[in-house]
């Protein structure tokens, strides 16, 4: 019959057909708006089952378009891009590699391992390839920015938020170049692009790297309340915001800042650890009951009674969680460090070393002897600190400095000295610390 129609009639028939067919297509496939229950049947189903692109995070239109354009060839395209990425990495074509990383992510915007791996690659591997510290910092930032982008597009995945926090906190704060990196985080070395101080993309408010990391860890915890994470034990994962505050306070001390800012930081760290992390609820299965780490006898009794479980079982679960997160140690550490006199001990030892560097051996020796006595007292009050590597290293280093002064003055050091007990007990640690000490101040004669 269609053959009997004229060309024009056929065209009109096709047009009518197209319009008629569009009706069910629109009804089924109309995209959703911001309002609930908007869009066609498919969009509503996606919303109901949390499968829509918009429910996963910020939508990148380019990404969706690319996937459509490839018509099911995405896997092949990704493979080719990953091969290209490897070649560019081998050939040290970093700028091109960064661009290819973006292309990979356009095709795999919700593949979490890709975000984690490529973010790590930029922040850790590529940065290490550069010689100038400023360049290394640039690539650490690139890694962090990449992960931030990943977190924005994958709000269901706490892992990417956590990874961003780790890059901003531990990579910047614990790398060999940490002193430079931490300064750069507040005042970016690229003054032309960031004349106001920090790179606003990673640090809009110009804060300390550990505090920015704390915010990202907190976001990770918020996301984790809605969506499960798969990288570590839950108690450990949720401890990171508080751990970041501890790191912040410790870093201030390492940089020689012993004023009220540091004390307040430790005070906040203590509160975060005990009142924040310590009061978090963790669920135990089979039998089901809920625990928190800052629990005393009466709390354990109450939990056992509420959930009708054996008290010993509750006790054991809390103990296990505390051990995994090293809960008691950090509580003691934060409690000790927030005291003004503890801070004074650290300040005295730090200042003694500064005096030593200036060549004022007498004042340095005096400050060391006073500081070491107070240090000994601090360890008596908080024996748990004797387990902390940093604390022990600080004490042993101070003793070495004290011995060095005697050596430089050609005097014989007294038999008895503060921290002698610690010196003898921790003899196994001494060779390593002595090596670092000798590298900085020259070997003992």
């Amino acid at each position: 019959m269609i053959e009997q129609l004229t060309a024009q009639q056929r065209k009109v028939a096709y047009l009518v057909g197209i319009v008629v067919l569009m009706v069910p297509i629109i009804l089924l496939g109309m995209p959703a708006t911001d309002e609930a229950n908007s869009g066609g049947q498919l969009a509503r189903l996606r919303q109901t089952h949390d499968l829509g692109e918009s429910t996963l995070g910020k939508v990148d239109p380019t990404s969706a378009t690319m996937n459509l354009v490839l018509l099911g060839m995405r896997g092949i395209a990704v493979n080719l891009l990953r091969m290209e990425l490897d070649t560019q990495k081998d050939r040290k074509q970093w700028a091109q590699m960064r661009a290819t990383t973006e292309s990979v992510i356009l095709l795999q915007p919700h593949y979490i391992q890709v975000w984690r791996y490529l973010g790590w690659n930029l922040a850790y591997n590529v940065s290490a390839e550069w010689d100038a510290v400023e360049d290394r910092y640039f690539w650490v930032k690139e890694g962090a920015k990449f992960l931030m982008q990943g977190a924005e597009r994958n709000r269901k995945h706490p892992e990417v938020y956590w990874e961003t926090g780790r890059t901003l906190g531990q990579k910047i704060g614990r790398a060999d170049e940490w002193k430079h990196f931490r300064k750069f985080f507040k005042i970016d070395p690229d003054k032309e692009r960031y004349p106001n101080g920090p790179d606003s993309e990673v640090n809009p408010e110009g804060r300390d790297n550990y505090l920015v990391a704390k915010k990202w860890y907190q976001d990770a915890n918020d996301a984790e309340e809605r969506h499960e994470q798969h990288i570590m034990m839950r108690a450990l994962f949720r401890s990171y915001p508080a751990r970041s505050q501890l790191d912040y306070a410790e870093a201030l001390q390492k940089e020689g800042l012993f004023d009220e800012t540091t004390r307040t930081a430790w005070d906040q760290a203590y509160r975060d650890w005990v009142e924040g992390f310590g009061k978090m609820i963790f669920q135990e299965d089979n039998p089901t009951f809920e625990i928190f780490l800052e629990a005393y006898d009466k709390d354990i009794d109450q939990i056992a009674e509420t959930f009708k479980v054996d008290r010993a079982q509750v006790d054991r679960a809390i103990d296990m969680h505390q051990k995994v997160s090293n809960y008691k140690f950090w509580r003691t550490k934060a409690h000790a460090e927030k005291q003004s006199n503890t801070l004074g001990v650290h300040r005295e030892l730090y200042e003694a070393e500064q005096l030593f560097k200036k060549g004022d051996l007498e004042s340095s020796q005096e400050a060391l002897e006073s500081g070491l006595k107070k240090y000994e007292l601090m360890l008596e009050n908080y024996p748990d600190l004797g387990m902390d590597d940093n604390t022990l290293e600080e004490g042993l280093w101070a003793v070495m400095l004290w011995q060095k002064i005697y050596q430089l003055k050609n005097q014989i050091q007294p038999e008895e000295f503060p921290l002698k007990e610690l010196w003898e007990r921790e003899a196994g640690r001494i060779p390593n610390i002595q090596q670092d000490f000798n590298r900085r101040y020259g070997p003992s004669s």
Binding site: T62, D90, R91, K92, W94, A95, W130, D131, A132, V133, D135, D176, E177, K179, H180, R193
Partner: protein
Amino acid sequence: MTFDRAPFLFGPALLHWMFVFGSFAGIIFSVTVLIALGVYGASGPTAVMGRVWQGLHDFLGISPRRIWALALLTIKEAVRRKALFVFVVFAALVMFAGWFLESDLRADLQVKNAVSFALTTISWLTLPVVLLLSCWGLPEDIRLRSIHTIVTKPVRRNEIVMGRILGFSVVASLIVSLMGVVGYVWIRRQVPNNAELICRVPVYGELGFLDREGNPTDKGVNTGDIWEFRSYIEGGTKSSAIYKFPIDQVANKIRFESRFEAFRTHKGRIGQSLLVRYVLLNPTKSLRVPLESFEVVEFGLNEKDLDRQVTYFDEEKKTNRTLDLFDDIVDQNKLTIEVQCLDSGQYLGMARPDMFIRMPDRPFVAGYFKAVVGVLLLSIFLITIGVTSSTFVKGPVSILLTFTVLIVGQGFREFMLKLITGEQKGGGPIESWYRLITHMNDTLALPDNFGVKLMQFIDNLFMGGLWLMQHLIPDLSYFVMSPYVANGFDVPWSTALAQCFAMTAGYLVPCLLVGYYSLTLRELEAK
């Protein structure tokens, strides 16, 4: 891109081309004569000779007027087929591209992105258009029988092929030139005010090495890089890199640019880059002129200006000396520079193109339009292949064939070479398939039996075909000149443009012959 290509030598290239072309022509002629002899007896070879004679006659008697008339028809046809609509797509891309190019990047990276975008867009828009036009033209004429209106006129078949190639080339030239001009204006407007559009003219030298004992060696140390492009010298030893630059003119100042790579075996001083020193050498006079050391800028450019009068501290005489660069230091028209790393236990990596003398810059427009010429030459090359293939196969097959040449020529030659040389493990197609389904790793030896021998025999036949393809399909990456311009370099004649002109011309001649004989022998009545 390393810009480390060997200069193109016309003489040897022409000889090589003549040898290959002659061999192919000879083989085809001999095979044709033998077949004709077998099929038609003694009259066969005579007929073949007649065809050859006819071909010679047709090629010697070509009429530029008729070719131009056919070219004009081709241009009209291209316009009718809305080829120029490509400008609409280009205009849309150029209008909105600025939205998608990152504007918070470093100024030089913004320039790089803008230049790459403009040239890549011109290339990606032009090539599909010319590919479709050139491959569809003749088959469509044959299908619609409109070819009869031409072949019944006093027009030779080679003139049809030439007219087609010329016509499409004119269309391509028009498209590429207009896009080139618009692209140039767009780049000018796109780059930030603090960015500079530069076109460096580098002069590269030869590179040699001295080992840690000071003995000459071909290469430095490999510090674990997979890519062995750069060699490393050890700091704080006698190890050094020796660059020898040709000097053919005297100047008041010479500018050196280098981009070295640092490798640390220990942390060293954090916050300080490795120290590098240049020492000017005159081997004949046993003269060593150490220059002031500097901290290396890695993956960036270290710029060093050298005045004609060089003052340095003479260690032996313990006094300052001033020498004339060209009279005292340049030796036999060569300037020799030793590069040393001064940090003990650290390494400095370099390759031949990592250091060069920067001649006075050319205007950016010169380099840019050379790259545009590269796109045009590639278009003409594709048109030649497309028109030729369309004389013996139908449109879709011709498109597939030309597209394959483009893809393989641009990106798969290296892979093919690895397959042919055996560097790529896993064997030929049958062996790969066998290993895949039996989960056999490519490092495991195959069993010694008849089946495996047969499989390898068939694979060798495939590899033979691949070898032929590898030699037939040229390296089309030469035509892509945007990396030069995007990185702020001029497009060199000897290592880029000359190669492309020669390649286009080299393929044009045999393609005309193939096209002519295919069209002559083809049944033009559409089936």
